[in-house]
Symmetry: D2
Subunit: 342 residues, 4 copies
């Protein structure tokens, strides 16, 4: 950490900054420059409360040199994390995993049909919500516990693994009983109570980037899970808030190479929420694979115009099938493949 | 709701849209224009799942005419909501209420000293966090239950009312035992499980706007609380995510007149988080009063350079005193006053 | 255009709105609904000054149904525009065109070397700035007229076509004498005087999206060029302003399918400015091809660490060569190819 | 400037960075830390092309300690710039100057009437556009030269000073003949050719902040004008692009104290464009004065529902009169006044 002093800071100001740093248990190293002095704080263990220093007289700016996260960083663990799921499915290796299915579990018939068709097209993981976070209290809120049971049946029926969202501590434990991956939604990315809860469960966690979260904040939220003892976190880009209403969100595909350079955790992409329109899901799913995503999370519905939620961004079965074909070619172009499981 | 059809939509496409609307239980009213047809959906009760229609062939765009929120709207209740707290304090009337105190409860001595000095300067409500949502798992996380007890003592000692944050269902119940107002932080604005919990408690709720929440989303989150039976919600503008790092957040003061025009709920402003720098808190607090805020939420610390969190945005006691003087004059300029309690 | 009235608007308010519409020369069609009346404005020719109506008593909101642009729209011209350049190069057809070269022309040796190496790797158009818009007045501002002459030599030497930026009317005429495509930079996207000037020249225009321009605004700026009589506009996504400083800009690849659905104009992508870091240019260039871009604009420098501008986002020659190989495979995966010229 | 090296950077990497710095004519000062080395660049004169260094092997990040602007900074000139206009009007001192008038000059009768009524209410400067930058080529583009002549008549008639926009070099010279202040609009904030032109004219310049410009970019654009020899620049906050469509722009009032801390130049606020709705102009204009703005730029029209542009955000004359009364009280509350001229 570097403390940049004002050009007119006095020797006393500088001494006070050094004194405060030492009082906090770190070493202070003042470096006089031509126009101003900067003071280095040496020994930063990621617990420095910089706002104590930032407010001192004569301080112009604090510059953070070390990253505030630890266990999620490439410097902590250089080789990529590969998460082993059952049935031979892995996330984070060479194979790109495809998670597909409807926005919500709506009925037994619907979820079984959806599972069969995404399985037939080549997906290895079924996605569908039982607990649904909806912007309006009057929107369909999901089937809850009943939805989880139906997901269990779809799993038995098709052999697909399951990823589904938990919205609170109680729900997380229920989800953990049925699902192979617990999803934390974008709106709960900084719900630290929930992050701590899933950090204590022994299930991989799919952590979606919040609507206005920086990559650093996403990594710090993952750090909450790792800090509780759960190293199996899959990050997910799903679009951030932008200023243009032409798409539902602003799908930030650059997040994929950025995360890859900073962290060893796998990162997948959700072009369905990232764009919000079926016709854009296809090109952006292809783009995500080309950009190096470790997986795709795609909404597919047997009958989108009857979907109880997100119909407009759900692919038709035939579209999904075509997408899988294109994805295989693009993965091959960059030396990867689409995961098939056993 | 209006469904705008593509210029080249066929008669069949239009008929399908009308049929779907009727199947959903509403009335369809097609309106042929010069270039294209639009179809009105009549009878919208706020529960229409528009994405079912948005994905139909020939549909270009869905336009929402009705607002998706109900009970929080001015149309539902034209007169402003005035929340009655104990000791004669009200929020939402003519008097502007000032909530002040440190970011976190740190110790008995600190919180009692802070309470006394903000009381002396004219605040009526003490703010301080016991449960702290921190971006990093390694930052100070607050004193928890112990912090709540110290807030209770500060209340007894000074007569100030208490506002403090809850981060989960369990915490909300604990907070409700001690505090006069339960705060829901920006990061939890769309934590719907928590919103439902506080909607069932009988305590006023201070709901902070999320970092990238639109006003409509803020109102919909408030609607969650009202829909559970708790009509006492105070909204709070605290800055949104912007592109300029010159300030911590982008303090969106226009939210105050916007909320006033759309909703009957009171809205206050938090210039401390809104700007992130002590020197900017003063002018922006004044601006908030001038813009019509029903209250201020301000961080004040007896000794900011020793604060365990947010020191750089905490006012010195003398600054807070000066601010109160200026706020009184500005309130008077627009026919209001600063709340004094009994 | 639809005018949504307040629930409590009076009959007189509605009559006034209808009267104003008719006074402006359009037809008014009031549509009473269950909660409120909406008034349709029929005959909108894109010249309606809606703010006259928006401010009338009883008006809640104006909803624009027609798009404000005309000649750039798919509805105006359904088939894609294919721009014919010399030497058999086309933009907007099946072949994806690659424009590559250094940020700035620095010297004869540098630009000739750069031209040769991008030509050898398979580019068909040379990009390099002679007039440079720089955020600081103290940064290198380009070689100006001398730079244009050097570009002319590089053209003669290698057979590459030239794209280079113009910053004002005078510069546009000079650029038009040497270059095959006149570039309008992001900062000048809404410099309407300049747009009108290049609209009157007979050269294709490469129009870069402004830092905070919506797609609609980008299309309206293109409309300025077409409205002056020049139909040859190539749009370019180059990143918008985001809130995360991890990348230079937020590269909005979804703009490609969005533009494709709304307009017949070709759109290319600039991953160099879109990301700002060499290591991210490779994956995002691949992603752009996968998303359906009609071309790439990539910074390549024979010796990036000696570049006078943008060195950090310039590819090394070997990287560019590898990128070209990957781009060919990805283009093939979606039924396209990389343009080769004659 | 500080160059932060990767934790695994080699001694050779560090030596290369130091060599490059010295080759560029500056002094390199390596500072080994516990985890990584940082290298200080000493002697930065604002002309360092950091991207040459940023791309070197082993470099993790470049940190800019010095600000890139010079003459506009408080460090360059600590006392505030006070611009002297004719008729005793000054901008940047204690008095807050009010510039008011219609969006566009529409006719002689309209502009004279507007000038008289804003004069009567207490404004000292008349605003109105002759050259209008409009998003659509089909919108009213202003009266041009004829509009300038009408502004001259309004000046003679009422004694108000004139501020009006120039969109290109030719227009700037025409505007300079008639107006007291040349306005550069938000869309042209980074039109460097135009900035250089007005930097060579001898007239004060009102420079509006671009839609997605950081404060630093705004100051660098002002630096262009000062660097050409014109020290009389007035900055203007007029709203930035936000994600919420509830207002036309996101009015960033914090820009006022931020600019005040970084620069000696005066800064005014434009609540009309900042909000886009007449009803929000009143509270936000009051807020701007409370936040410390040196002036207001407000749209007022004798008959807003007949305005050819921006009618919905133009105040009615009676509203403007009330606003002036409130502004006087708020200015007094913070020890200022509203400018009256001679």
């Amino acid at each position: 950490m570097l403390i940049v002093m004002h050009a007119e800071a006095t020797a006393e100001d500088i001494a006070r900054v050094c004194g405060t740093i030492e009082e906090m248990g770190y070493e202070a190293r003042p470096m006089p420059g031509r126009q101003r002095t900067t003071v280095g704080l040496v020994g930063n263990d990621g617990r420095v409360e910089s706002s104590r220093i930032e407010g001192l007289p004569g301080v112009q700016e604090i510059i953070h040199v070390s990253k505030p996260y630890k266990q999620v960083s490439r410097e902590w663990k250089p080789e990529p994390t590969i998460i082993q799921l059952s049935r031979g499915v892995t996330i984070g290796g060479t194979a790109v995993v495809v998670m597909a299915g409807p926005c919500s579990v709506e009925s037994e018939a619907q979820i079984i049909e959806a599972a069969r068709l995404v399985r037939a097209a080549g997906a290895t993981i079924l996605r569908a919500g039982a607990f649904k976070p909806r912007t309006s209290p009057y929107s369909f809120q999901g089937l809850g516990q009943k939805g989880l049971e139906l997901l269990g049946r779809a799993r038995n029926e098709t052999g697909l693994l399951i990823v589904t969202e938990a919205m609170d501590a109680e729900g997380a434990e229920k989800v953990a009983e049925v699902a192979d991956i617990i999803q934390i939604g974008a709106r709960n990315m900084q719900n630290y109570s929930l992050l701590k809860t899933v950090g204590r469960l022994r299930k991989p966690v799919l952590l979606k980037r919040g609507l206005s979260a920086t990559i650093q904040e996403l990594l710090l939220s993952a750090e909450y899970v790792l800090a509780e003892g759960n190293p199996e976190v899959i990050l997910c880009e799903r679009g951030v808030r932008g200023f243009d209403t032409a798409t539902r969100n602003l799908f930030d595909l650059s997040a994929i190479p950025v995360v890859k350079s900073l962290s060893h955790l796998p990162i997948i992409a959700d072009p369905s929420h990232g764009t919000g329109h079926r016709e854009m899901v296809m090109p952006m799913a292809r783009a995500a694979v080309a950009a190096g995503a470790d997986g795709l999370l795609v909404e597919v519905h047997p009958n989108p115009e009857r979907a109880l939620s997100d119909g407009v961004q759900s692919l038709y079965p035939a579209q999904f099938e075509r997408l899988m074909g294109e994805a295989r070619l693009i993965a091959a172009a960059i030396g990867r493949s689409i995961a098939t499981g056993k």
